[in-house]
């Protein structure tokens, strides 16, 4: 089985709020000084899901693809260090400032170019923009079935058996291959890379593909092909206010708190 893991490099979510800045003129996040970008948390989990299937099915292969700048090669290397076999970086100035649609279109073009792919695993959403669209749109581009927000994935039945997180538990679905799966944090923690695999990963060359390599047109990728227009990016105003819950006992205070949260439509 050949599984593709889509991995995105994002600003470190652990960046302290005080180091987070937005450039209002360009509507962009200013990279925090001295804080290296990281692999999106959910993509590491998707990689873990793919690697477990690889380990359970001899002869399987995992390829990691990332669309991003030069620095995204380090996100690819991280997944290679976890045990993935090959890495492809989709790196072209033309890809910049796209949206979920162009990202999915570009990734799908790379998946088609690889040819023999049986399944694509994505994180449930990228931990920077939290859109949760790319996995679905890749499936659309490929014409494949998609199962989202998985807490478990194994081979079996028609192809893959997937436990999908739903509001009050989970449901088990079966999908034929090829298919797309998006993996959620309920799946569990990704593994730590092992030293020998780190050494092997460091020696591997990451393949680089540009627009032309994918048979795409500069007009249909990146900013040129984007369908989503970002109107305004801003940080939420920060402030604090304290409201003490009335009540003579913890029980009364808890009841007052619940009533208040309900009234404010928080729960």
């Amino acid at each position: 089985m050949h599984i593709v893991v889509c991995a995105k490099q994002i600003p470190d979510p652990e960046t302290p709020p005080s180091a987070f800045r937005i450039d209002a003129a360009s509507n962009k996040v200013v990279p925090a000084q001295g804080i290296a970008p990281v692999l999106s948390q959910f993509d590491g989990i998707a990689a873990e899901a793919a690697l477990r299937i690889k380990e359970a099915n001899a002869g399987s292969k995992v390829t990691v693809i990332s669309l991003g700048a030069d620095s995204a090669a380090s996100a690819i290397k991280q997944v290679l260090a976890m045990g993935a076999d090959e890495g492809v970086l989709l790196n072209d100035p033309a890809f910049e400032d796209g949206d979920s649609y162009t990202t999915a279109k570009t990734l799908a073009a790379a998946i088609k170019k690889l040819g023999d792919v049986d399944a694509v695993f994505c994180g449930r959403q990228a931990a920077d923009w939290d859109m949760g669209q790319v996995g679905l749109l890749i499936a659309e581009e490929m014409g494949w079935p998609v199962s989202i927000i998985a807490k478990g994935v194994t081979t079996g039945g028609a192809g893959l058996q997937i436990q999908r997180v739903v509001e009050d538990g989970y449901e088990t679905v079966e999908t034929p291959l090829p298919a797309v799966v998006t993996v959620s944090n309920e799946f569990g923690e990704p593994r730590y890379p092992k030293l020998p695999q780190i050494m092997a990963a460091a020696k591997k060359t990451v393949t680089q593909w540009k627009t032309a390599d994918l048979g795409l047109d500069a007009g249909e990728v990146g900013a040129a092909g984007a369908r989503l227009k970002l109107e305004k990016l801003s940080t939420p105003p920060r402030g604090g206010a304290v409201e003490l819950m009335p009540g003579d006992s913890p029980e009364e205070q808890a009841a007052a708190l619940v009533a208040k949260l309900r009234a404010d439509k928080i729960i």
Partner: protein, 388 residues
């Protein structure tokens, strides 16, 4: 000169950093501020994780079954592993294992069977017995522990001071004067089992850090001649280079706590408002933070330079002394400034600073004092026997 991390180094560093942040720091929330070990279950679980990662005893040479991670990478990793409250003296609470005392590699095959391999397997623990009440800076002259040959063995009388871990160790490397007429060449290193009759832990010596040291006494302790490590009279010839080697990660571990302290101080300076402005807007505070950065970056550079020279097989004794001196003193200044920026909170046991402040002070004494590092450098610089 190229000080860029290789891709491999970066991946190892990222892995260790994640481990410290996600596995170690959260546990410290529930530990006593002075704890230097984990509860046994966590300890076992984390060691098992690290072994699975192939990162246990990273400095252990390949020929002894270890990964043989090079000195430059280990210097970088020492800075990562100490980035938590107990990190200076208990990096990752020992989850990454420790390498055996370098001297043991110089032992005979029999000694390796008896001591080196069990230490590697974690079955035996060693202490290091050089310093005595009569002085640690100049052991060649100050060692009074005396060994007298009697047939196939030596009878040893005297004592040692500051022996970390001797009360729980299975054996120690003990420096003994075996020929009073020969000065430096009259000192011999012995492998001494702690259950030898006449060996006694006289008292536990409490110090600034949370883990005490010991004072030992030896009374008519009979040690077979075969327990000599290296040559008779060759105690100091043993492992001179390797000791200088160890000084480099020892130095960069100090930078780790400085890095973490600086991170906390920058955040605090941005949050804390006085007289209507965050501390970060005050030049007095800005300059402290900048001085911290200067202290850390300059000393890191020197430590990596020393490690790189050692790795290339060049002479590095001067540089390793300089690194030890600079890193330990720089870290002391950084911690001190970060405490100042935190005000009262900087003194609280809720924060790691007060522990770092105490422990980093020891680093200017242990492994050769700052003055002794200067003595070593002066000897090199002036090509004289003694700068003292």
């Amino acid at each position: 000169m190229d000080m860029q991390r290789t891709e491999e180094q970066q991946l190892i560093i990222d892995t260790v950093r994640k481990f410290i942040r996600e596995e170690i720091r959260p546990l410290e929330a529930d530990l006593d501020p002075d704890a230097y070990e984990l509860n046994p279950e966590d300890d076992e679980r984390l060691r098992a994780m690290v072994k699975e990662m192939g990162m246990y005893q990273m400095g252990l040479p390949v020929e002894y079954g270890g990964p043989g991670v090079d000195i430059v990478t280990r210097t970088m990793l020492a800075e990562e592993m100490s980035q938590h409250r107990a990190g200076l003296y208990a990096p990752a609470y020992g989850a990454f294992g420790s390498s055996p005392p370098e001297h043991l590699y110089k032992g005979t095959d029999e000694q390796k069977e008896k001591y080196l391999y069990p230490v590697i397997r974690g079955e035996k623990h060693a202490f290091f017995g050089l310093s005595e009440p009569s002085g640690g800076s100049d052991p060649a002259r100050s060692i009074r522990t005396r060994g007298v040959r009697d047939g196939d063995s030596w009878v040893i009388n005297g004592g040692k001071l500051w022996n970390s871990g001797a009360d729980t160790a299975d054996f120690g490397i003990v420096y003994v004067r075996t020929d009073p007429t020969k000065g430096r060449q009259g000192i011999t290193a012995f492998l001494v089992d702690t259950d030898t009759p006449g060996f006694r832990v006289q008292r536990l010596v409490q110090v600034l850090r949370s883990h005490y040291t010991t004072e030992l006494s030896f009374t008519d302790m009979r040690i077979p001649h075969s327990q000599i490590l290296g040559e008779e009279g060759g105690g100091f010839a043993l492992a001179n280079d390797t000791l200088a080697h160890n000084r480099i990660p020892y130095a960069s571990a100090c930078l780790g706590i400085a890095v973490y302290a600086q991170e906390l101080a920058i955040e605090w300076a941005k949050q804390r408002v006085t007289f209507g402005e965050p501390l970060a807007n005050r030049q007095a505070i800005q300059w402290m933070l900048v001085d911290n950065e200067i202290d850390m970056r300059t000393s890191r550079w020197i430590a990596l330079d020393a490690a790189a020279r050692a790795q290339r097989g060049e002479s590095f004794r001067f540089e390793s002394s300089m690194a030890k001196l600079l890193c330990t003193e720089a870290a002391g200044r950084v911690i001190d400034r970060c405490m100042q920026i935190h005000g009262g909170l900087g003194m609280a046991k809720d924060m790691p600073f007060e522990r770092w402040y105490r422990e980093v002070r020891i680093r200017r004494i242990g492994e050769g004092t700052s003055e002794i590092q200067r003595v070593v450098m002066a000897r090199d610089l002036l090509n004289v026997r003694s700068g003292s």
